[in-house]
Symmetry: C2
Subunit: 422 residues, 2 copies
């Protein structure tokens, strides 16, 4: 893929080049070879996160279908597959198209398909590629009918696999009772082109659930367990194995506690879907991960840990008042939905050889589209032209602000261009 | 520019094609030719907004340098220039690079430049293209020194034009007093490569200012007036005219009230910088515009009006409970920083020939990354598979979620692919 100076982060004096050749440019972030802001992925930490999640899933006997919507980076999808992921989870037609164009052969769409353009594409992919495996969700008889009617126009001899989605009252999608789950499952059974391959739920959006109040998550997972046992007893599942999937990035240990080891009439594949583990973050998932390690012996005993691999670098552009600095990054560059970013590192070009960790007292108090307002302690040694490294909260909403994120080694040499497709 | 199925909105069964040929595809949004979500720009409304702003600026005797960060769409930059814009305003190195690659020959960067890669690029562009005119801001002596030292390495015989930025206490960038403004202006005067071409301020981020409390904006504009009069009296400005620039999308009428007609030693060019007028929106700028029309006879007497040209279409994917629908669009598709989006239109494929305006009682109450939670009135005729048209608040943060927005005619035929560069 070609990169040129129209891509955020590429120097204006650079010629067009192939993204695979970026390491050969010899660019170093601290040497100021590239304009800021830059979104960086620290390769060593990325490797550690991948290794931790792989080991944790292996130790737990579960499969991983990481949610690709987090990064929308096919290079990372391919890496996750190489690391042993069973599938890539996705949300939208566009996301599936991106994954398929990049050779992803098993996709779990964690949504019900109602869009004819989406159904046409999936059915066509299934009909024309015997090596492609696809699963999506259904949560209503109407949804089953829409999918059945449209998919059969293109599917040929293949069947389209679905999971009944269990939801929680007041929550997002998914049936609200075992009875409803059964009605939907029977509608699937009656279809000539769909097949029921399992049950799914997303515990991350259950109302009232937090790291310090996991009761709603546990009750929700128990409801999934109850539904899958009942549906299996009625012989509603087809195929060689039953897929049981839950698990975002916040409570995946609880999914294993409550759903692993369930005994059904066929082998069970328990599939976690965490998407955030690969980049992790500085606030939201750092907090969730601390709770996961506290709750789960398996997590705390897995070698290594998840750590924030993503950071955004920006300049101090102005210090118009004592204690207030404006940085050259804003809503266009940084997540602001869960928390505002947090200043972590300070580097003064021409003086420092490596970024220093910032002491307490530095705080982002607001973002505009292209500016961050940073408060800093009285007497701090801060000048315009200094570089600040920001940690973020919720990687999904930082990735989506970058056409390319830059992989760096421990010395901030740029070694990889991670192209995204949002 | 080639578009393919990796671009959000392009059907999975489409071959790669040139974006300029999109009208020839014969795609219609209501005929479901493209997967949703889609971000749409209604061409008729876009034309009306462009005409209104052009007429308003002409009637007011002011120049327009629309802030390009709003859309980051070179096709719209070029259109704005063709419509008479004096320059394009931008924020970052990346944005300037995108504009220059697309033939924009006058750029106002509404920031102080401290990034060596940014300064190198601008200096190189000035040195190599005599037809390129560039202005940026300075708000400190340190900033002047950084810019002077770096720019002189590449500028050749050109000078780099700057405006001293006036700020407000507790606000964003900019000097906090006329004294400081003078000190910065004198530092510019002492530079052998910079030249002081005027004064700038951004009234949109003055603390305490709202549409119903415009006092802080007026006082801020008066401070700009005072600074420019004093600097002119001291002969600090160089060049044939003095540039005086303020005006975002919220209070541009007040800028004219307070700053138009100022008499200085040279001709004065008053430059507004509104970026949002071209797409406008359904909430934030609709409200600001109502206040502008109430305050300004010139605005209310200008033929036509600004109207929301941007909307996002999504499917009803699930109705898991009475009164709750989940739509196939979320934080990846819609602004959520100023207000949540607002459901405006309803279309049932196979039944309707045009979208109907939604009655009251439909409300987006939350967004996840890829879902919107829509509450709707009891007894409403809503089904999964229906299409909802959403209005947004703050166009900048919807544009940045789309690699391509689709221009549609009044019948929702797709006539233009608006490629963005974020």
């Amino acid at each position: 893929m070609e990169l040129d100076r129209r891509t955020k982060g590429i120097p204006g004096l650079s010629d067009t080049f192939d993204s695979a050749d970026i390491a050969g440019k010899g660019w170093n972030v601290l040497r100021q070879d590239m304009p800021l802001p830059l979104a960086l992925l620290r390769e060593t930490t990325l490797d550690g996160n991948a290794a931790w999640m792989r080991a944790f899933c292996e130790n737990s006997g579960v499969s991983l279908a990481p949610h690709g919507k987090t990064t929308m980076c096919p290079q990372l999808f391919q890496r996750q597959i190489a690391d042993g992921a069973w599938a890539i989870t996705l949300s939208t037609a566009h996301q599936v198209q991106v994954a398929r164009e990049n050779g992803i052969n098993r996709i779990l769409v964690a949504n019900q398909l109602v869009d004819p353009a989406f159904i046409d594409y999936v059915a066509d992919q299934l009909a024309t590629d015997a090596g492609f495996d696809f699963l999506c969700l259904v949560d209503s008889i109407a949804g089953v009918e829409i999918l059945d009617a449209r998919a059969k126009q293109r599917l040929g001899a293949r069947r389209l696999g679905v999971l009944v989605e269990i939801g929680a009252a007041g929550g997002r999608t998914g049936v609200r009772s075992t009875q409803e789950a059964f009605a939907v499952a029977r509608a699937v059974k009656a279809s000539s082109v769909l097949e029921l391959r399992g049950i799914e739920g997303f515990e991350g959006s259950v109302p009232g659930a937090t790291s310090t109040n996991i009761g709603p998550v546990e009750r929700f997972l128990d409801a999934i367990r109850e539904s899958v046992l009942a549906a299996d007893a009625e012989g509603l599942f087809t195929g060689d194995e039953i897929v049981l999937s839950a698990g975002g990035s916040s409570y995946f240990d609880l999914v294993i506690d409550r759903l692993a080891g369930i005994e059904l009439s066929k082998p069970v594949r328990l599939v976690l879907r965490s998407g955030c583990y690969i980049a992790h973050d500085d606030i939201l998932y750092t907090d969730h991960f601390a709770h996961i390690r506290k709750r789960s012996e398996r997590a705390s005993h897995t070698h290594g840990r998840l750590a924030p691999a993503i950071e955004v670098f920006a300049y101090v552009q102005s210090i118009p008042e004592a204690g207030l600095a404006l940085l050259t990054a804003g809503k266009r560059d940084l997540s602001y939905d869960a928390h505002l970013p947090v200043p972590r590192k300070h580097f003064r070009p021409g003086r420092d050889t490596a970024p220093a960790e910032l002491a307490a007292g530095y705080k982002i108090e607001a973002l505009n589209d292209q500016h961050a307002y940073m408060r800093f302690p009285e007497g701090a040694d801060l000048r315009i032209g200094d570089i600040i490294g920001l940690g973020i909260s919720h990687p999904c909403t930082t990735f989506d602000k970058w056409d390319v994120l830059y992989g760096v080694d421990d010395d901030y040499n740029v070694v990889t261009a991670y192209k995204t497709f949002f």
